[in-house]
Symmetry: C2
Subunit: 345 residues, 2 copies
């Protein structure tokens, strides 16, 4: 009949079971040094009172909150959403909750959120900084003692050793894609990617250039076009690119929005994909898979990134040996219909 639920405190349970609060705590948690009788009575009392321990109070004493933070520029970005999703799944399995915050790549906001996380005493955090230089914030957090795992960024690191991180081999991916296009005969290829402020862009550019270098062809054909990550910008840039005299015959475009912009620009100019323009998507989004023609894409597993990051963090939280401190995930080129040899002019 008890309608008023859940005001039950450990003291109530103790009283109901006729033991001390200390015993209740031991019975419910440790199980160590507790007699069968006490265990039984406490369990019964807890059940009857629908006792649910108060995490806040427990946290205060144990200095652990059972929560980890996740800081990304935008959870709605498909390239992050799946990472967050997978990480949450893994963390939940161990009873951890995940608090997420969007930074929009604003360093001030990043610092503010790190401070908030620390002030809330979150046990750890997963972060994808908006630039590699803002490591003061992470350092701050680290001095708070909470482990940090970096998502696909090169953050300088803490004195001696680098931060634990999950990295994606964008360089090799970009090189493979570029090599493939060169192999098809393309000599002028544009790479559309957000700025080199962050690791993924930097690595892609490096791989892109490497492919040109190793093919020993005119590096002038490697058109690097840095982007805001927005469809309209990309469309404008792509239009400009495709109107040039010696326009690129192939485009490598990041994500959903930039890819979309490029595709639109091509359509607006009456270029047919792949006949007039080959296209490779970086990141295998719904759009790439379903577009007609289906877009050849560089794919890496976002789920793996999330899972691996969670795993790395869990290792640190448990303090079980250092284990490995970084993971490098592979990138595959999945061949579809959007690449053919360049038109013969």
């Amino acid at each position: 009949m008890a309608e008023i639920v859940s005001k039950a405190t450990i003291r109530d349970v103790a009283r109901a079971a006729g033991v001390s609060v200390g015993s209740v705590s031991r019975a419910l948690n440790g199980g160590k040094n507790v007699s069968a009788r006490v265990a039984r009575d406490v369990a019964a009392a807890a059940e009857k009172l629908r006792y649910q321990p108060d995490f806040q109070a427990r946290s205060l004493r144990t200095r652990t909150t059972g929560m980890v933070g996740c800081l990304v520029s935008d959870v709605a970005n498909p390239l992050y959403a799946s990472i967050v999703q997978a990480a949450e799944a893994r963390l939940r399995e161990t009873g951890l909750l995940m608090v997420v915050a969007n930074t929009a790549n604003d360093p001030a906001r990043e610092r503010a959120m790190v401070a908030a996380f620390r002030s809330r005493r979150l046990d750890g955090m997963l972060v994808a900084p908006g630039s590699d230089e803002n490591d003061r914030a992470w350092r701050d957090l680290a001095t708070g003692g909470a482990p940090v795992v970096i998502l696909d960024r090169d953050v300088p690191g803490e004195g001696d050793r680098p931060w634990p991180a999950v990295l994606v081999d964008h360089r090799e991916g970009a090189r493979t894609a570029t090599r493939y296009l060169i192999g098809l005969g393309h000599r002028r290829i544009a790479l559309l990617t957000p700025g080199a402020r962050m690791r993924p862009g930097r690595e892609r550019i490096a791989g892109f250039k490497a492919a040109f270098a190793e093919a020993d062809i005119d590096p002038e054909g490697a058109l690097i076009c840095l982007q805001e990550s927005s469809m309209d910008f990309a469309q404008g840039d792509a239009l400009e690119l495709l109107r040039r005299d010696r326009r690129p015959t192939a485009i490598i475009a990041l994500g959903t929005r930039i890819l979309a912009g490029a595709l639109r620009a091509a359509r607006d100019l009456g270029h047919s994909v792949p006949r007039d323009l080959s296209v490779i998507a970086v990141g295998d989004t719904d759009l790439a898979a379903v577009h007609s023609p289906a877009i050849t894409a560089l794919r890496w597993s976002l789920e793996d990134v999330g899972r691996a990051a969670a795993e790395l963090l869990l290792q640190r939280l448990r303090g079980t040996g250092e284990g490995q401190s970084r993971a490098l995930l592979p990138v595959d080129l999945v061949l579809r219909e959007s690449c053919v040899p360049p038109p013969t002019t």
Copy 2:
């Protein structure tokens, strides 16, 4: 030079400022009843010691955590991701953190997460239950006293009054879309949407049927095809649908994955969109906007949903008058290139 940061407690500040802890607390929070001298000294001491209050401890005393939960089936689903993003943005403005959890529409997991949220004493929560019947879980939470805002679901409600909720007018949207297709001359139209277990599906079906009813045409042409939300399923179903003798001449398909399945099926069968098959997307995703041909779509603002939900929750948290308790957001049909009159057979 102080390298060891952030062990500073309020007691340290009190000592450094030469006042009592009570005064420090008042100086830092209330500002009420505190002399200029104390305010100055405390501020200075806090600054010098880099004092950051411990939210855990504060929570214990104030019974408020500054965190709200968000429970959806899958944050990586584009239809949720933007909602979460927008809600987080609004909540953050007021200093609240958001913890998210994915339920995969599993009622057991939903209950478990609600329990976890309550146990952590989250101040409130935003939830999109996987079915409308699992309201026991929310009732539990409500008895914990934390306000709940429902995202686009019909949850029976708490005795007298319904839960606060943000709803989308899917019925009207579906009706508009269907009416539009009928107006173009279509008589056999398929609606591909996930089951009627949840409000959006139910409402869409109702609107779909209503359009047929009001047009006074053969309701046999209203082909309702319930779906798992997965591309492969949708593709299979769509193939079956399009192979029928009297195949639909238009398809209304939900989201990214089902839409993608339908588009693929059409392509596999050599049906050209829109010549042989008109298509309307439900939900204006990247895919719909960028596909060639661009897909006419039902659009509602996910950002508005998230913002409105956050706003409703904030109202409840502040306890400022009841305000309105539900919002109904409009759905627009954005016309693109994927709908034309049916082929004349």
